[in-house]
Every structure is written in structure tokens, then in C-alpha cells.
């Protein structure tokens, strides 16, 4: 018994050392690598960067090394700095040969963040479905929630904690009628009243077929979305941007990144070469001319410029961000919200 106890104690001390020593080193010694703020400029035709130099002065450059003043930098990124340009009275009539107004810029600009933390986390299994055609300007949160079971969609009245049989049957029947096979593999929605409009949910059924499901005037709206041949979707990201041009983004099992257009339900491939949302985070800063896509990977930060018209790859840039942290045992991670022992290199 004593021998077993001694071995157990030695194991515990070893685990604590492998956990705590790298953790202390990484907290107090390891320095994080910073990269410049980078955006693609359709005006300059290349990436533009903004960073502090050694004297803490701002440096404005583009990827060719050309330096800019702050005012010039505003002008080569007119969709990003449009409010500054309006304030200075320098907002142009046309950008890249296209007539624009500040309202056009405001409507077409969007930011989208996709983090592994949003995917790799415990899930409640119930969510809210808003009324997407209430006739009111402001959205309202519903008085029920829904869960997806093996056999259908089940709405539960929150105040009484009872199942709304009629509404559940109505949605289940409609979804099954459109070819939805329960249970759902994935779903993505943004059930908040702090947005301009509601598109309900995009869902993958048990066979990974894509559906758009929302509630309109209390009734189900279900639309099957045709996927390109051979594409197997893995993760869905509903957009609900002010421009109302897109329904959602999709990452597939091969690492490709797709866009679903809202009106036509067309599924278009983007020029992002590879993206694994379970391990990598993505930031998209989009405007009416281009999208700057930043992907944070293990040892690099990659930037891709996509055309806003056909989503093709226009330019790319990679910053090396070598890890300076010590390998060791960790219980938490920046990639998920679970506590479990894992060895991180």
C-alpha cells in the first residue's frame, strides 16, 4: 500500500511540475509575437499595414513598402475610414470607378469573427427561434424554445415548461416534407433581438443536407438548399449582415470555405485556400469591393484578399508567428471551453 501511495504521490508531483513550470514560463517569460494591422486596399491594389515603429510612432505602409501619411492611408482604405473622410470633407464620389455614397458603404461593410471557442464548447441543446416577419421594426424574443430530437423539432413554452404540440408538429411535418432527416447534424442561428432582421437557422440534417428554417408569421418556412456535387459541409455560420446579401458561410470537410447567397440560395466557393474552424480563428472585414480574411493558425497569421463580386482570391500575405511558449501539460485551451488534460507542444 505504501509503495502504491509513493508512486501515486510521485505521479501527482510530476503532473504538477509538467503543468506549472511551462505555465509560469509562458506567463512571465514568453513574449507574444505582434503583427501589424492589415487590410486589403482595392484602391492601392495591395495590402496596407499599420503598425508602431520602435519610437512608438505610427507607420502606414503597403505591401510594396511604400509609406503613406495618415490622410493618404485614410484615402486608400475609404470603406474602412469613411467616417473620417466624411468629417474631413474628403469622401470621394467614386471609389475604384464606382459611384458610392456613405450609405452604400455603411450597408455593405461587415465584420465576421469565427473562433474555435464558439464551436468547441458545451451546448445547451435548446435555442430560441424568433419571428422573422412580425411586422414590427424591432425584433422580439419568443416565449418558447425549441430542441431537435431524433424524430422532430419540439417547441417548449417557457412559462409553463410544457411542449407546444401543435407548433412542434407543424414544423416537424414541414421539415420532413422538404426532405429533412432528423436529427440535425449542425445548426447555426443568431437568436437575439439586437439585430436588424432575422433569418432563423441554417441546419444540416442527419445526411448533411443543408436547410434554411425560420418562423414567418408563426408558421414554418423551410427551404432545402442544393449543395455543389461532392461538397460535404461541416460547420455553418449564419451571417445576417446589414446588406442582406448572404445567408451564411460554410466550411466543408476538405477545408474549403463557401458562401451561401441569400436571395438565390446559390452556394459559391471562396478563394480561401484552407480553413479549419475547430482549430483556427477567422476574421473577415468586408466591404463592397473586397474582403480581407485573416486566419490565425498555429505558427502563422495568414491574410487573404477576396473579390467581393465573385469571392476569388485576389492577393495573400503571411506573417510568421512562431510559438515562444514552452510545451507542457494544460487543462484549458484557447481553442475550446473544456477542462481536460492535454499536452500542448
Amino acid at each position: 500500500m505504501i509503495k502504491v501511495s509513493k508512486i501515486f504521490f510521485a505521479c501527482l508531483v510530476a503532473v504538477l511540475l509538467v503543468w506549472q513550470i511551462p505555465s509560469l514560463y509562458n506567463t512571465f517569460v514568453a513574449e507574444s509575437v505582434s503583427t501589424p494591422f492589415t487590410l486589403y486596399s482595392s484602391v492601392a491594389g495591395r495590402f496596407a499595414t499599420l503598425e508602431h515603429d520602435e519610437d512608438k510612432k505610427m507607420q502606414y505602409r503597403d505591401a510594396s513598402g511604400r509609406e503613406y501619411t495618415e490622410e493618404q492611408f485614410d484615402s486608400i482604405l475609404p470603406t474602412f475610414y469613411y467616417r473620417q473622410l466624411i468629417t474631413d470633407g474628403r469622401f470621394p464620389d467614386t471609389i475604384c470607378g464606382r459611384a458610392v455614397t456613405p450609405r452604400d458603404i455603411q450597408l455593405s461593410n461587415f465584420n465576421m469573427r469565427i473562433s474555435p471557442l464558439d464551436l468547441n464548447k458545451p451546448r445547451l441543446g435548446i435555442q430560441q427561434m424568433l419571428e422573422s416577419m412580425s411586422g414590427r421594426v424591432d425584433l422580439e424574443l419568443p416565449d418558447d424554445v425549441f430542441r431537435i430530437t431524433e424524430s422532430g423539432l419540439e417547441f417548449v413554452k417557457m412559462s409553463a415548461n410544457t411542449i407546444d404540440e401543435a407548433k412542434s408538429a407543424s414544423f416537424t411535418r414541414m421539415m420532413q416534407g422538404k426532405g429533412f432527416r432528423f436529427p440535425a447534424y449542425r445548426l447555426s442561428g443568431n437568436p437575439t433581438d439586437r439585430k436588424e432582421y432575422d433569418e432563423g437557422y441554417v441546419m444540416l440534417d442527419a445526411e448533411r443536407k443543408l436547410f434554411h428554417v425560420k418562423q414567418t408569421v408563426g408558421r414554418p418556412y423551410v427551404r432545402a438548399i442544393a449543395l455543389p456535387e461532392g461538397m460535404i459541409p461541416e460547420h455553418l455560420f449564419i451571417t445576417e449582415f446589414p446588406s442582406r446579401k448572404w445567408l451564411c458561410f460554410i466550411s466543408d470537410t476538405q477545408g474549403a470555405f463557401w458562401v451561401v447567397e441569400r436571395d438565390s440560395y446559390a452556394v459559391r466557393l471562396t478563394g480561401v485556400p484552407r480553413f479549419n474552424p475547430e482549430m483556427e480563428s477567422m476574421l473577415i472585414i468586408g466591404n463592397m469591393f473586397d474582403w480581407t480574411v485573416r486566419i490565425n493558425r498555429a505558427e502563422e497569421e495568414s491574410y487573404y484578399a477576396l473579390s467581393a463580386q465573385d469571392y476569388s482570391l485576389v492577393d495573400s500575405l503571411v506573417y510568421s508567428t512562431p510559438s515562444q511558449t514552452l510545451p507542457g501539460l494544460r487543462f484549458t485551451s484557447t481553442k475550446d471551453k473544456f477542462v481536460k488534460p492535454r499536452f500542448v507542444k
Partner: protein, 223 residues
């Protein structure tokens, strides 16, 4: 003989058991009263929405209660015997010393688990009437690492209390603090779900550490 040891432990700790039961159940009951108050003021809908949209679990006040109850239980059970040097009498009973100590730890662990189970039952009894199964399970599962930490605190404090030398007590204390930290790393509710079975097994194995203290005690080690 084991029954006699259980009886001895009961006599030693019964008032603390009652106090721990009242505190644990009282905190759980108070947390439920606060939930019920929110329900009566703003309706059950509000609870559901806050849970779904803000990942709230409403019982955060219970987080360190099991830890302190477990720690205090070990102090009440072992510190007086060590202080009055009467622990050696237990070792002279006609039973293997390790078995006698194991019986003492089983008693303490079982009492603590019973107290914690009652608190969980109090929470479940109310929550399941106003929340969907997904929601009350979410709350209960999120509290399990805290209750496990209570058992861990009991076993680790027992290990420290039974240790005869202060130098080792300090070292054991540092190890114990680091081990207890593992139970409070949750970045989100239900973060421990997959890790709980392994964590529970390792927690139970902390009882082996007290055998090291027992060995040092029997060897007559002193500062």
C-alpha cells in the same frame, strides 16, 4: 471493529456533520430561493432566456461552499487527535493501521457525499419544476466539479493533518493547493463533463496520500 471506528468518528464529528448539513443545504436552499424570487418577479421565461443567452447558472454562490466544508471536516476529524496525540491509540486497535485509517476516511467521505447529495437533491427538486431538462441538467452538471473539490479538499486536508512533520505539511499544502486549483479552471458551465469520470477517480485516489502520512507517523518522524 470497523463499526466501532465508524461510531468513534460519528461521536467525534456529529456536531460538525449537523453544521455541514445545515450549511450545505442552507446555501443550496438559499440559491433556489433566489431563483424562485427571480421567477416570481420576472417570470420563468426570464430565467430560461438568461440561461440560454448569457450562459448563467444562478448558483455561482455555491462554488466554494463544498471546498470549505470538506476542508473543515478533515480538520475537525483529525486535527484534535493529532494535537492531543491520541491518534496513536487508534493505531493500537486490533486492526491493521491502514485499514483503521481507511475506515476513518470512508466515514468522512461517505458523510460528505451524503451531505452534498442532499444539496443536489434540493436543487433538482426545485429546478426541474421550472426548467427544461437541458437547463436543470446544465446547472447540476456545472456544480459537480465543485462538490468533487469538496471531497478532494477533505482527503488532501486529511493527508496534511495526519502528517507529523511541519516541513512535509508545508510541502503537502503546496501540492494540495495546486491540485485543488484544477477543480476551478472552468471557462464555461459544463466544461468538466468529459473530464469528470477521470477527475472523480483521481480524487478518490487522494486517499492513498494519507497512507504516506500514516507511515511517517508510525515511523515516529518529527521536526
Amino acid at each position: 471493529m470497523i463499526k466501532a471506528i465508524y461510531y468513534k468518528e460519528w461521536i467525534k464529528t456529529r456536531w460538525y456533520c449537523l453544521l455541514a448539513l445545515l450549511l450545505s443545504s442552507g446555501f443550496a436552499g438559499y440559491a433556489m430561493m433566489r431563483v424562485a424570487r427571480v421567477c416570481s418577479l420576472k417570470g420563468a421565461d426570464h430565467l430560461w432566456v438568461v440561461m440560454i443567452q448569457r450562459d448563467a447558472i444562478f448558483v455561482d454562490m455555491l462554488q466554494f461552499v463544498p471546498l470549505f466544508l470538506g476542508l473543515a471536516f478533515a480538520v475537525v476529524q483529525f486535527a484534535p487527535e493529532m494535537h492531543h496525540k491520541s491518534f496513536k491509540l487508534t493505531l493500537h486497535l486490533p486492526i491493521r493501521a491502514s485499514k483503521a485509517l481507511a475506515s476513518m476516511l470512508v466515514f468522512g467521505g461517505a458523510v460528505l457525499l451524503g451531505i452534498f447529495a442532499l444539496s443536489l437533491l434540493i436543487m433538482w427538486a426545485y429546478l426541474h419544476t421550472v426548467l427544461a431538462p437541458e437547463l436543470w441538467r446544465h446547472i447540476i452538471l456545472s456544480t459537480l466539479p465543485w462538490y468533487l473539490a469538496g471531497v478532494a479538499a477533505y482527503l488532501l486536508t486529511s493527508w496534511i493533518a495526519l502528517e507529523p512533520t511541519w516541513k512535509r505539511r508545508v510541502l503537502n499544502g503546496v501540492v494540495a493547493v495546486l491540485l485543488l486549483r484544477i477543480y476551478f479552471l472552468a471557462p464555461a458551465p459544463e466544461a468538466y463533463n468529459g473530464f469528470l469520470p477521470l477527475l472523480a477517480l483521481v480524487t478518490l485516489m487522494y486517499s492513498l496520500l494519507s497512507m504516506l502520512s500514516l507511515s511517517n507517523f508510525r515511523d515516529g518522524r518529527q521536526d
